[in-house]
Symmetry: C2
Subunit: 196 residues, 2 copies
């Protein structure tokens, strides 16, 4: 998978020129800021303007929008992944750990306007982000799931990928606010369905 190197090329690199590094930083800050207010689908021009750079600059540093998104959210995904083993060790049961970890994942998704939806709608463009999720999050959930299965708390024949993506889709649909609808309840019912 080249996804790792791709995104890596957009991180701090001492071999670059000083202004290039400066602009990259400015773009990351601007993108993070704009993503919060306008969502990850914000116009490229707006991000460039916010960073005070031209169109060419943004595309040179981040050839695709996904590269920018990955760079902005990478450490948060990392934190979510690292929380998995810890929860498994401290929770009262593997199923409880699963519930807590999933809750963490849902938190991450719902606070990023349109992230889940964008990934769903443009899987090719966001292949790098998709790969990041697959590489870091699926194994974590797989471990928890397997522990829950060993404890006979989960019997449903479902894979970690299937579960993670289902949760992603549910959150993608819940990014629009609606007091009548509660994505967390849906996710809870889904987990309950796995328990059986």
């Amino acid at each position: 998978m080249g996804a790792g190197e791709e995104a890596m090329s957009a991180t701090a690199n001492p071999a670059k020129r000083a202004d290039a590094r400066r602009n990259e930083k400015a773009l990351l800050d601007a993108a993070a800021s704009v993503f919060v207010t306008d969502g990850v689908d914000a116009p490229v021009r707006r991000i460039a303007a916010e960073a005070g750079v031209g169109m060419g600059t943004i595309y040179r540093h981040f050839p695709t929008r996904a590269d920018l998104v990955v760079a902005v959210y990478r450490h948060q995904v990392e934190a979510c992944a690292e929380a998995g083993p810890a929860l498994l060790a401290t929770a009262t049961s593997p199923f409880a750990a699963m519930g807590q970890w999933v809750s963490l994942f849902v938190d991450f998704l719902v606070t990023k306007h349109g992230l889940a939806a964008a990934m769903r709608d443009d899987p090719d463009g966001f292949a790098a982000l998709h790969a990041l999720f697959l590489d870091r999050l699926v194994p974590v959930l797989a471990d928890i799931l397997s522990a829950a299965r060993d404890a006979a708390e989960v019997t449903a024949d479902v894979t970690a990928y299937q579960l993670l993506r289902a949760i992603g889709d549910i959150c993608a649909g819940a990014e629009r606010v609606d007091p009548e609808y509660d994505a967390r309840l849906t996710v809870r019912l889904l987990l309950e369905g796995c328990r059986r």
Copy 2:
């Protein structure tokens, strides 16, 4: 709710001029055809071209894309709604009826490229379609759900709307083909979670 009248204005109306009625029919046929191949997000120009009319004509008959979509799919939604009571009467149990009806609904959604996703992504634009679902489908599922509850087959505290929307979101996410992911399995797990 003005949604009903809105969409109604786009159905056959004998008071219109002959060419207007002819063009409306041509647009409906063209849209139905294009939706199948290009999805409900197909460019407006393409639909107009397929129908052999100009841009102005399509916007006069169907001010919003949702009006066109509603007109095209209205009878299919109707059929899905009417199947509810029948299933409830013939199925071995209310929960079984729920499973069968939901399967019908999933069938409807997954065969319309991007329908669920479009509704999810542009809830305001597709308000008329949303209203159609609320008016026709939610009550049907509510009846089945209440029957299942009476039979003590469902104990989860979930509304028909919540359930219907969750299924819609899951299908919206599954419209992209992926052999690893099975939306129907997710939906089955969700229903299982309601059973408890």
